[in-house]
């Protein structure tokens, strides 16, 4: 595969990867193997879920970075924002009081993603189906602002 990976690509990959893990898990139940094996497979699935949460958030973060760059006028500002911490990129991409709730939501996702990415909260249980649904909604909200900024001529020179 070439080009950019999308949320839809990740969803397909998640479906294929987890179906294999959980088929093993189901076989574990089916053939009444040792509970320890089932526990290990359950842990495998939880780690995969945490990894996918990191990947899913990466898609949203990428969209935010694009929007932040689009909102800036000079190459100097754009170079600075590329190196900036996440909160500054977020505030640049989604400025103002109207975006307060959206910033708060995405900040929450970022904190959880950072914990998982740094090896913490790998034990957390995720309902990844709901995570994907919400990620598509957040992606659409950020994309709408991206498209609006484009139509308002904010495209950087």
């Amino acid at each position: 595969m070439t080009g950019r990976v999308t949320l839809r690509d990740l969803e397909g990959t998640y479906k294929r990867v987890t179906s294999r893990i959980y088929r093993l898990l189901e076989d574990g139940y089916d053939f009444a193997v040792e509970e320890q094996i089932i526990a290990i497979l359950d842990m495998d699935a939880r780690i995969v879920d945490a990894a996918f949460f990191v990947l899913i958030f990466g898609q949203i973060e990428n969209r935010l970075n694009e929007l932040a760059l689009r909102r800036l006028r000079t190459e100097r500002e754009r170079n600075a924002i590329r190196e900036a911490r996440f909160q500054r990129r977020l505030e640049t991409a989604l400025p103002g009081a109207d975006n307060k709730d959206l910033r708060k939501t995405i900040s929450g996702w970022y904190d959880l993603r950072s914990d998982a990415a740094h090896g913490e909260r790998l034990h957390e249980r995720y309902n990844v189906a709901a995570v994907f649904e919400r990620a598509f909604e957040l992606d659409a909200l950020v994309s709408a602002q991206f498209n609006r900024s484009e139509s308002q001529g904010e495209e950087s020179q």
Binding site: E11, G108, L112, R125, V131, R134
Partner: protein
């Protein structure tokens, strides 16, 4: 609580846990799980035998973080369904605190052939919202989460 289950559960995971809130969540969990069992028993009717003497005591991280002692935690029934002394299904509460869900109950179904099959019941309602939204999920197809209809459970117990 926020209006989306993922946002709400992420916000809760980031907060410093409060003992009263954790206890309220555990009591609500017990109420929902036991109401679920009541609904299942009513839907399946008297041709099965139901045993709820087995108990499950949540010992999740959140329970430990607020320092709840074992006696303080509301215990949850484990539901065993049998017919002619043969176990057909076992409902076990798995986890209350999840990102994107308001708890999960596992159902282990024993086929006549002797093999076992696992299903997950995942509640998609908001925490403490009083309106459960149970979905039935095959672990190998976790992205497909149709509403759980207790009247169709008999089909799984064949």
């Amino acid at each position: 609580m926020d209006g989306n289950i993922v946002d709400a559960t992420i916000a809760e995971a980031r907060e410093k846990p409060d003992k009263d809130h954790v206890l309220a969540r555990l009591q609500d969990w017990q109420n929902r799980v036991h109401a679920l069992y009541d609904t299942v028993q009513k839907a399946l009717g008297p041709k099965y035998v139901y045993d709820r003497t087995g108990k499950n005591e949540p010992r999740e991280e959140m329970v430990q973080r607020v320092g709840l002692e074992p006696g303080e935690v509301p215990k949850l029934d484990v539901l065993k369904i049998t017919q002619n002394d043969r176990q057909l299904a076992l409902f076990t509460p798995r986890s209350l605190w999840m990102i994107g869900a308001n708890g999960q109950v596992d159902i282990l179904v024993t086929a006549k052939s002797g093999g076992r099959r696992l299903y997950n019941l995942i509640d998609r309602s908001l925490p403490l919202s009083k309106n459960p939204d149970w979905r039935i999920v095959r672990p190998a197809d976790r992205l497909h989460q149709p509403p759980f209809r207790p009247d169709t459970l008999a089909d799984l117990l064949i």
